[in-house]
């Protein structure tokens, strides 16, 4: 492990860590494969080699386009997607194949974004209103009759032919670009809080919040609110905005709790997942214990984490189905992948994963610190906050620290739009990092 001792350049260091990630992927797949079939075969190594080759391509594009960018972000993203795809493969082959395809698309768009913006990504600043309106339009897309699809009570999907995606994931990135450009330009005026300057901001952000709340997508609502507040603070350094925002959020949350049944249900599940007497069950209309009805998914996920214990059951050996083959946790490979990983890797492995997320955020913050101009600073800070908050909202929800709201775990969860959007987020951070390091 002598990457620094050898005094490697940034890109060689990145290659070195990617090789480590490749070995980790191989170990993970081999473990799942052996646990399932009791035999070693080349098939397990094939997956690992495929991913290593894919990341090698990503690495080469990075080397060509942003040679001075941070060397740790790409390997960390690689590790998270590899761990995710290993677990998804373990839970079901078909989904793992699709996820693999989405990762290929993600890496492709990552390469395109780096290539297209390698000279100066700050051209994006000129199209800020396009990004702002685009953010709302993307959020609104699932409402359009004919292409919108409702899944699990939230209308978040768009389908074109057999191709389905969640535009909300991209809307998040658009909103961050808009906020970065807008706040950079208007920050002095905003610090004085004149309505004229705050207007467009409130229109676009308010529009996003309205669409999210009305489509029951509470996790994203929370995410957008957090991104907005943190970027506003970075731009203006006014603590009063943050305090006011949090007060507003608490007030809004309380009203939503009182008035919206869906929100009320989520909070009840969070505070009292178990009941000892039968209570009303909205899905059947009859009476049932809450752990058998509304909080079934959350409770089963907590059992899954508990079953992992300190060291975990080992990859491929966890329990996710009943003896007659029913899946225990619905949507275990997207929203609940963290509880699946916590079972198989144990506390020690789940903690390692959270550490990787934290380090990713730390590198992002460092890029925001290093960036020279306001737009770059805000862009890096916004992308990092978005990533951090999303991780916190879903892991916090799964661990019952906050009420559970369905959202994907970045890079790990099954879900094409999420993976692709996160690769674009990674490209953004690397572009800012490359520029900051080049000018030092």
């Amino acid at each position: 492990m002598g990457a620094r001792a050898l005094n490697l350049s940034y890109r060689n260091r990145e290659l070195f860590y990617l090789a480590v990630v490749g070995v980790l992927t191989g170990l993970g797949f081999a473990s799942v494969y052996i646990a399932r079939q009791s035999e070693v075969s080349w098939g397990s190594l094939g997956y690992a080699l495929f991913f290593f080759a894919l990341y090698l391509i990503a690495h080469l594009v990075t080397r060509l386009t942003v040679p001075n960018a941070d060397p740790y972000l790409l390997p960390m993203a690689g590790l998270l997607t590899a761990v995710g795809v290993t677990e998804i493969y373990r839970l079901g082959n078909a989904d793992a194949f699709k996820q693999g395809l989405w990762i290929v698309i993600g890496v492709g768009l990552y390469a395109l974004a780096l290539w297209g913006l390698r000279r100066d990504y700050r051209v994006l600043e000129q199209y800020k209103y396009l990004f702002g309106i685009g953010a709302i339009a993307l959020l609104f897309l699932p409402r359009v009759p004919g292409i919108g699809t409702t899944v699990n009570g939230a209308r978040l999907w768009v389908h074109v032919g057999s191709f389905r995606f969640q535009p909300g994931e991209f809307s998040k990135i658009f909103l961050i670009v808009f906020l970065a450009a807008y706040l950079r330009e208007k920050r002095e005026a905003l610090a004085q809080a004149r309505l004229k300057d705050v207007g467009p901001l409130l229109v676009i952000w308010g529009g996003c919040m309205l669409v999210l709340v009305s489509s029951n997508d509470l996790g994203s609502g929370l995410l957008y609110f957090g991104i907005f507040l943190s970027m506003l603070y970075v731009a203006t350094a006014r603590l009063s905005f943050v305090i006011g925002g949090i007060a507003l959020f608490l007030a809004g949350g309380f009203v939503a709790y009182e008035k919206i049944a869906h929100v009320h249900e989520r909070v009840t599940i969070w505070l009292h997942p178990w009941t000892s007497t039968k209570v009303y069950c909205p899905s059947t209309g009859g009476l049932a214990l809450r752990q058998d009805c509304e909080s079934y998914q959350l409770v089963k996920s907590i059992y899954s984490i508990g079953n992992g214990g300190f060291g975990g059951t080992g990859l491929g050996k966890g329990t996710f189905t009943t003896t007659d083959g029913h899946q225990l946790i619905p949507y275990v490979n997207s929203d609940f992948i963290y509880s699946a990983l916590a079972q198989e890797l144990g506390l020690i492995g789940a903690a390692a994963l959270l550490l990787v997320f934290m380090l990713f955020v730390a590198r992002g913050m460092k890029i925001a610190l290093q960036a020279d101009d306001g737009f770059s600073k805000l862009l890096a800070a916004g992308l990092t906050f978005g990533f951090a908050l999303q991780t916190f909202i879903i892991v916090g929800g799964v661990l019952r620290i906050i009420p559970l709201t369905g959202i994907t775990l970045p890079f790990v969860s099954y879900g094409g739009s999420s993976v692709v959007a996160n690769f674009l987020l990674l490209a953004g951070l690397l572009l800012v990092s490359n520029r900051a390091n080049t000018h030092q």
Partner: protein, 167 residues
């Protein structure tokens, strides 16, 4: 894709345990290396992520920095401005061009593009950059192909306007 050979169940258990240990050890080594490099960064002087030092200073959050005037752009000749007029460069970027939404707008300069050039103060000085103009931005008569750091006395030509950078 030929399987090597089926393993006995005791062998499976041992292999899986070995794989699990190897996986976790490697994972933590990976994390350790990145933490090491992040820890090195902490020893370097810290910069702020906050964009608005003025407001933060007013709120008493950070010590008041000395008022930073990083230089001035003095008009040498221009169809729009009087000679000798000056624009102050402080801590944020300044754009120049024919459109009214620039920091310095010169509607009468026929040869300037809508958004022409940007002056950007950085830690090491003021940099100038062409932001996609049609006729180019010149520093001391040489057309900019990439951004460039200004030294006192440099004359920047935007359209038909000449500006001299003074500290």
């Amino acid at each position: 894709m030929t399987p090597w050979q089926p393993l006995a169940s005791a062998q499976v258990e041992t292999t899986l345990l070995a794989l699990k240990l190897a996986f976790l050890v490697l994972l933590y080594l990976f994390i350790w290396r990145i933490v090491r490099s992040a820890a090195r960064d902490l020893r370097l002087p810290q910069e702020s992520m906050i964009l608005a030092p003025q407001q933060a200073a007013a709120a008493g959050l950070i010590p008041q920095p000395a008022a930073r005037e990083l230089g001035r752009l003095v008009v040498v000749s221009s169809p729009t401005f009087q000679d000798g007029a000056a624009f102050t460069l402080d801590s944020h970027p300044l754009t120049i061009g024919r459109a009214v939404n620039n920091d310095v707008s010169m509607p009468d300069d026929e040869y300037a593009s809508g958004r022409h050039a940007r002056f950007e103060p950085r830690r090491d000085g003021v940099w100038v950059e062409d932001i996609g103009s049609t006729n180019g931005t010149f520093v001391n008569g040489i057309r900019l192909t990439r951004e460039r750091k200004l030294v006192p006395g440099d004359v920047v030509r935007v359209g038909e306007t000449d500006l001299r950078f003074e500290p």
